[in-house]
Symmetry: C2
Subunit: 343 residues, 2 copies
């Protein structure tokens, strides 16, 4: 971190405070690390044999000591900090930190865009996913789940249930869709297997990240909405705000009181009412708005369609108007006092 310094060019001295995508940007460091993990000793398990395509047999001995449940984090630090705290970006289920990188159609994602706005950006792969690795079946219970080609299209509101077809020209997206539908396959390429039994390990690693990085702002998506709320309860002194993109806040009056000092906003795209899953989630989060208010806290819901932004799917960070939505989030963080001189 100390070694890599990318400074502002002279030309930038005349540029506006928030760098635009076409302008130079400056980093004071970039790198990566793993946090967390624990050693698990497996013993007494039978050695398995599985047949290989060439007719040979592969022996798999699941016994031994393994380091598991660590989490990968990559960071980019702008030379000119504007965010008071680092921004940790947490992805959704079946995805990795790639969620926040280059969009499926090759434009800058939120990692670059928030970096340009002066935020220290930390992008991680949740435990079990991507560069965090996964563990033996003796350690990770159950089996990994694989998404089919059409799963994300229908489940995440790019098109209605039944609207996906393998042939590109036969797929029907919702009207005015902001998701780059012609490059849908590049979203599918980002999908990785997920387990259904690892939420606690994922939470532990995220808390380890918070403890390593320090006070921070969380930008989270989908599955990690619930986890971010739990992380805030575990580290109420370190989580300074939660920007939750279509994730569920699961709490009650007690939890609402415990995090009432933490500003929270949940942001929704379009066509939420057409998905039973997201309509239910939205209703759950509305209850949390009321609960927060009743204890003097603040949970807000931003429905983008009500603000005039139509046609967004579940993937706000990848869509044609992803920069506009990043601006809206940044402005919310400004209103919460989270930009300015670094404490």
């Amino acid at each position: 971190m100390k070694a890599l310094v990318i400074s502002l060019v002279a030309i930038l001295s005349a540029a506006p405070a928030v760098a635009q995508p076409s302008e130079p940007v400056a980093l004071r460091g970039m790198g990566s690390f793993h946090v967390g993990g624990r050693v698990v000793d497996v013993s007494g398990e039978p050695v398995r044999e599985s047949k290989l395509p060439d007719g040979k047999t592969q022996k798999v001995d699941p016994n031994g000591s393994f380091l598991v449940e660590q989490m990968y984090v990559q960071y980019f630090l702008p030379a000119k900090q504007r965010g008071k705290y680092p921004m940790l970006m947490w992805h959704g289920g079946g995805l990795t930190g790639v969620t926040y990188e280059t969009t499926p159609d090759g434009r800058e994602g939120w990692a670059n865009l928030f970096l340009r706005k002066g935020w220290d950006v930390y992008v991680s792969d949740a435990v079990e996913r991507g560069r965090s690795g996964f563990a033996e079946r003796e350690i990770f219970k159950g089996e990994p789940v694989f998404a089919t080609l059409g799963f994300a299209w229908e489940a995440y509101r790019i098109g209605a249930p039944g609207s996906f077809q393998p042939a590109k020209d036969k797929r029907v997206a919702y009207p005015g869709m902001q998701f780059p539908v012609d490059d849908y396959e590049n979203l599918v390429r980002q999908l990785v297997p997920r387990w259904l039994t690892t939420d606690d390990a994922i939470l532990r690693a995220y808390i380890a990240e918070i403890d390593r990085v320090g006070p921070c702002v969380l930008v989270v998506h989908s599955q990690s909405g619930t986890i971010a709320y739990r992380a805030a309860l575990a580290r109420p002194d370190k989580v300074k705000a939660i920007v939750d993109v279509e994730g569920t806040l699961r709490g009650d009056a007690t939890t609402a009181a415990a995090v009432k000092h933490i500003p929270i906003v949940v942001i929704y795209g379009d066509n939420v009412e057409k998905s039973e899953f997201f309509a239910t989630q939205h209703a759950t989060n509305l209850k949390m708005v009321d609960l927060a208010k009743s204890v003097g806290g603040s949970v807000e819901i931003m429905d983008l369609p009500a603000m005039g932004l139509k046609g967004n799917s579940h993937f706000l960070m990848m869509e044609r108007n992803n920069a506009q939505i990043a601006d809206i989030i940044d402005q919310w963080l400004v209103r919460k006092g989270l930009t300015g001189a670094v404490p």
Copy 2:
């Protein structure tokens, strides 16, 4: 790629041609993409059930269309190019592109260091690993293999066979070891499961990367040495050089003739003769040196101990002298005419 421009600071105009780790560096872009992949239709397979810890049962339906065998690539482009061609960094078995990022003890890895030297750097996760994702057992044959806590220590020549102990103070490394042994666990955190049946899919994706990026220099490690040689045979017009860190070149007189115009160097650390695996690999590569010479080609072997660099393990890019070894590689590329004006 067009959007993010990080330019040289004024101060750099007086700096030496090759930026040092403590100096500013300048990027003209950074981002990521996936290459390759194919749609596989699985049908007629039984729905499986697996028991979850809470007593419930998880149903796993392996049927459907899946997009598999894609590969993740992340790139960093310096403003001031000095390498004539992009440098593709390919990692070894059971690892990901993290191999080339921050070292286990927190210093800059080869991705940053070669970026500083003016090389466009592309770091990928091989098919099945990391952010490339993996596929169902109906598609990836056999089972993934998991490395134990001590595996890398002994297999990759940090210490002799039998020298690893779970307790840090009881481990015995080879004398003068350059690997940051106190941070060995951070190497283990980088390890991910591997399959033994996916080499062809890995190769296909690497070729897709070469086709997308264009003429390039390959910096490869361990398992990807063999794959890089195959990629060079598949794209002899696009692979401009191979820097092979302790990987096996598997060829014969015919292949040697086919790639005789491609400069190849294999670099070895210390204590190779104490490992049956690496001693055999070294002997195999020595035969390729002779074969190349017999057809007018060039395969070189650099034994670092013979050059005065003692104590290196299998992980040259992570070690205390990783910057010195990067310099040696860069100088070899200079001698091969691979720096200067971009073609």
